[in-house]
């Protein structure tokens, strides 16, 4: 339907509501507030408090969707959040539970799985070929010819159920919250409310969570007595100081009572994930009414007794006009009485306890008649079934409890073996009068409080399930899983084929894998499987219930916490000077200021400054720092004088390079260590591990300084000239030679650390200034160096500069298996040291010789820059090495690389072949790693 047609139909006057009843005692609708909305292009009006389906049912709408495989019309079955045929699209939001979602003014609701329309669905020709579409049919066909599978697949995927998303949807607001209740009660029926009240009275902080819009559970659709009890319990809850969440569901119970709650219905928040660390969890979800399996059991007009009672008593909607009721329990009887009371003609009540039964439901599109077991046929538009209950043991299952089958009550119930921190009460445990349920809840609440440390525990008298006939399937076949379109016949066929355990039948037929995740379907599936295999339900057991108990949006799970990012104190300057951002792990830093080659030239010819704040920095204090350094680094540290700096490499115990950096001695027992930016946390932990677990006798204290200092590298032939203008430290070559450290004032900032080192290969100073003065010093350097041609440079220029110089970058020019000797760092490794981390492996690598070497490489054609990752090849498929770093060098005016090659190709002047990404193969010459100033004259000047 086009938007124009929809708009035209919307403008017509709203549909009448002939099925709306006069006011009911427990109704939850507010008749004074009209809520207009659109359904399938037509305007409707409901009341505040209506769900989408109750408002539409009042107008006589009976079909809400089509099933995904056979395209069968589906209507209201449960009138609850589980309603399998009432999943709709609301605006951009797919898969909205129309029987639980309350109306909002202007809502645009559209049915799902219909093509072209809800009433005329072309795919329903599938009915004709239904015998062919048995469970798992797709495993047996579409295999040949093989090239056609993608085409088959496209057709199959057209049948995917569910609503639709849009790439342009604007995400709404989602939220998260933490809470730490002493007692968390999942389920606000009579037992849950009573448990919450009692626990709160004992002094516990209680959180009571109810999935529906109000507290009360089944009391809400009960008679006068139930409504009176409901009133009392609600008053008690209000007085007890309990935090109550409605329209919220406990979705998961994880280890140590870490509990997820999806909270809905908040103003301006689509959904909120509440994470609770609960002392005691009380599980009180009540019972779910189980559908009955017979031919036509999915026709619109076939409903559960609880659906009928909800529609009448909560929403004042007549579910039909002529009803047949199949009842095996009091709820079914009460549904028949409700129907009678509100004037729906009840033409027949079949008492399943006396063996009466339905055979099939008949109708085209919607229910028109029921065929009874005795063969008689009754015209009707409503068939109500009340044939049994399912205990939603999901949360208990997540706590490690296995449900056990109770044949007398014909339902699973909690088994033995719950953690002390989890209790259960209410219908999930057993049956009883309202008073008995409340008493069990009260005692359970007292026990929960006592276990949480409040008051003393009462004895919880057992609550047993009442006997109930075991009714799963009539003499005909019907659907066991509505959204998945799986029938009892499919289950029988799967079992006959050998998919005969609960898990295999689920996987083969997809029964219980749909939106309700088995809450309606599991027991019927297992019962049919039991029938098919001659085994008992007890023996077969259920599949494992997985979290979440109810679906949670990705938005709520993600929350509104955006991933953290770290910036240096100089970031405001970078942002106003066209810095190109580079994401480097946690840090975001300038990649360049627009022209990396010019930045390189500035450093080589004058002076440049780079923000190196992300460098890891650790202050080491104590008399045993030399021991720690000697253990952590592969090189020697005993003779490091005060005022000196040394480069070091750390390896792990497997000899693989972990990190590198320089450490300087600032005082007798004061050191400052630098690490790579990404390695800062790892190195700190590594050093703490050495101190705490291997050498607890060593006296060293480590303080992380990474963000306490802002760090700037001043590099270039005029760097001394620049820095001299700003500091009282004597920078002359004699007073402050290469690889020395000094402390002093810079730009009037005290307590700065200066090291003379040179990653770029130029005369350079790395200064660490108290972070809050970082921006000040940065601006001062630029200001005072203007006449010297000072220029800021970014990471890209630094990478070029260091590549020209042949300095490796850990994790770029090394990988997860690179040991010190592979990377050409063998000269640093001091095997004559007693011990250090990784020594045995490095000793053996030294003995055996490294298989590969890190070398310099220059393409014979200097204009070609092979991409990093290009392979050095031998013949068609042989690999001799790879390029780890490559750039065009502005200084040398040619392409330069670092590469690994097998040892036998590592001699300078060896010509190797590099394969480019486009397939071309080019010659390149091996060189020493250092491409520029190999003697280091500039560095030491």
């Amino acid at each position: 339907m086009t938007a124009r047609v929809r708009a035209a139909r919307s403008s017509r006057r709203p549909a009448e509501t002939p099925f709306r009843l006069p006011p009911q005692p427990g109704e939850v609708i507010d008749r004074s507030r009209l809520v207009p909305f659109d359904w399938d292009g037509r305007r409707y009006v409901g009341f505040a408090g209506d769900t989408i389906t109750s408002a539409l049912a009042a107008a006589g709408v009976r079909t809400f969707s089509r099933s995904f495989k056979y395209s069968r019309p589906r209507g209201i079955l449960t009138a609850s959040a589980l309603d399998p045929g009432c999943t709709v699209q609301v605006g951009d939001e797919p898969n909205v539970r129309a029987s639980a979602r309350r109306l909002a003014a202007g809502m645009s609701v559209v049915p799902q799985n219909v093509w072209p329309t809800l009433r005329y669905d072309l795919r329903s020709v599938n009915k004709v070929v239904a015998p062919f579409l048995t469970a798992g049919f797709y495993y047996k066909t579409f295999m040949s010819p093989r090239p056609l599978w993608p085409a088959y697949e496209r057709v199959l995927s057209r049948f995917a159920s569910g609503g639709w998303t849009s790439p342009d949807a604007i995400p709404s607001y989602y939220d998260q919250r933490f809470t730490h209740p002493d007692v968390l009660v999942a389920g606000g029926g009579p037992a849950g409310m009573a448990a919450a009240v009692e626990a709160a009275r004992a002094g516990a902080r209680v959180l009571l969570v109810e999935e529906e819009h109000e507290l009360g559970g089944s009391l809400r659709w009960g008679g006068a007595q139930e409504l009176e009890a409901l009133g009392r319990l609600r008053a008690d809850v209000a007085q007890a100081g309990i935090e109550v969440l409605v329209d919220s569901v406990v979705a998961g119970r994880y280890d140590d009572n870490w509990i997820s709650i999806a909270q809905r219905g908040l103003p301006d928040v689509t959904e909120r994930l509440i994470k609770a660390r609960a002392g005691i969890l009380v599980v009180a979800p009540g019972l779910i009414e189980r559908p009955y399996v017979f031919a036509g059991n999915d026709l619109p007009g076939v409903m559960l007794s609880t659906a009928v009672r909800r529609l009448i008593d909560l929403y004042a909607v007549a579910p039909g006009s002529r009803a047949v009721v199949l009842s095996a329990n009091a709820e079914g009887d009460a549904a028949a009485a409700d129907l009678d009371r509100v004037g729906v003609e009840v033409v027949r009540v079949l008492d399943a306890r006396r063996g009466e039964d339905v055979r099939r439901a008949l109708g085209r599109g919607t229910l028109s008649a029921v065929e009874v077991a005795d063969g008689s046929r009754i015209d009707c538009d409503l068939l109500v079934t009340a044939t049994g209950w399912t205990a939603p043991t999901s949360l208990l299952n997540m706590a490690g409890n296995q449900p056990v089958w109770d044949p007398l009550a014909a339902r699973f119930r909690p088994g033995e073996g719950l953690p002390d921190t989890v209790l259960a009460t209410g219908g999930i445990v057993g049956d009883g009068s309202v008073d008995e349920l409340v008493a069990h809840g009260t005692a359970t609440g007292a026990l929960a409080a006592a276990r949480a440390g409040f008051g003393s525990a009462a004895v919880v008298a057992p609550l047993s399930p009442h006997p109930h006939p075991a009714l799963f399937r009539a003499t005909t076949h019907g659907f066991v899983d509505f959204p998945e379109d799986v029938s009892s016949k499919d289950v029988m066929a799967a079992a006959a084929e050998g998919y005969d355990s609960s898990e295999l039948v689920k996987r083969y037929t997809t029964a219980t894998m749909g939106p309700t995740q088995g809450k309606l379907e599991t027991v019927n599936t297992v019962a049919v499987l039991a029938e098919a295999t001659g085994r008992s339900i007890e023996e077969l057991g259920t599949t494992v219930w997985r979290p979440p108990y109810a679906p949670i949006s990705l938005g709520a799970l993600a929350g509104r916490v955006s991933p953290p990012a770290r910036y240096s104190p100089m970031q405001p300057w970078h942002e106003t000077h066209s810095a190109v951002p580079l994401v480097a792990g946690e840090w975001i830093r300038p990649d360049s200021y627009g022209d990396p080659a010019a930045e390189v030239r500035a450093v080589r010819s004058a002076v440049g400054i780079i923000d190196v704040t992300p460098l890891g920095k650790l202050a080491l204090h104590g008399p045993d720092v030399p021991n720690l350094l000697a253990a952590a680094y592969v090189n020697k540290w005993a003779k490091l004088d005060v005022g000196s700096v040394r480069y070091g490499v750390m390896c792990a115990e497997d000899g693989v390079i972990l990190d590198d950096g320089v450490t300087g001695r600032l005082g007798a027992a004061r050191y400052l260590m630098s690490t790579t930016s990404s390695g800062a946390a790892t190195v700190w932990q590594h050093l703490e591990s050495l101190l705490q677990t291997e050498h607890p006798d060593w006296r060293v204290h480590i303080t992380p300084m990474t963000t306490a200092y802002a760090s700037i590298n001043i590099a270039g032939p005029r760097s001394r000239e620049l820095l001299t203008r700003l500091t009282d430290v004597d920078l002359s070559a004699d007073a402050f030679p290469y690889m020395r450290v000094r402390t002093g004032r810079i730009a009037d900032v005290a307590d700065c650390v200066l090291w003379r080192i040179g990653f770029t290969g130029e005369l350079s100073y790395e200064i660490h200034v108290p972070a809050s003065y970082g921006l000040h010093v940065w601006e001062a350097l630029l200001e005072r160096g203007r006449d010297l041609g000072v220029r800021p440079f970014g990471v890209e220029a630094q990478r070029i500069l260091r590549l020209e110089k042949g300095h490796l970058i850990v994790a770029q020019d090394t990988d997860g298996l690179t040991k010190a000797y592979d990377a050409g760092l063998g000269d640093l490794v001091k095997l004559d040291k007693d011990d250090f981390v990784g020594k045995p492996e490095l000793l053996w690598q030294h003995e055996d010789g490294a298989q590969q070497s890190l070398v310099g490489l220059v393409p014979v054609d200097p204009s070609i820059v092979p991409a990093e990752g290009c392979q050095i090849v031998d013949g068609a498929t042989g690999i001799l090495g790879r390029i780890t770093s490559s750039r065009r060098s502005p200084t040398l005016d040619r392409s330069i690389c670092l590469a690994y090659v097998l040892k036998q190709y590592a001699e300078p002047d060896t010509v190797v072949t590099v394969r480019l990404p486009d397939g071309r193969r080019i010659p390149a010459t091996v060189t020493p790693p250092t491409h520029f100033d190999p003697e280091g004259a500039r560095l030491r000047g």
Binding site: D255, D256, A681, E688, Q692, P696, R699
Partner: protein, 105 residues
Amino acid sequence: MFRIPCPYCGPRDATEFRHQGESRNRPDPRTVTRGQWRAYLYEKDNVAGWTRENWYHGVGCRRFISVERNTVTNETRPAAAAAGAVDPVLPGAEAGAPDADSTRR
């Protein structure tokens, strides 16, 4: 999310800690053979059930601690509880120097 009993901080969410592996002794590097060293590096007991292991409380006190954990259920308890041994970590008189027995046995 299970919790870990930190001897310094009390029970804390497991996400505050980093797993450091099974407790084991580092062989003497002067005498170790390649086979022994690599068994130390790579082989695992990989116990299904209660086991003693080390964790680093990186988002807390930053101590390396030993706890016992049931790897099937993720239940945890202080390391000393089962063995009836001494408190797993002595109160450090001096920062950086906990009991030598605390994490390696």
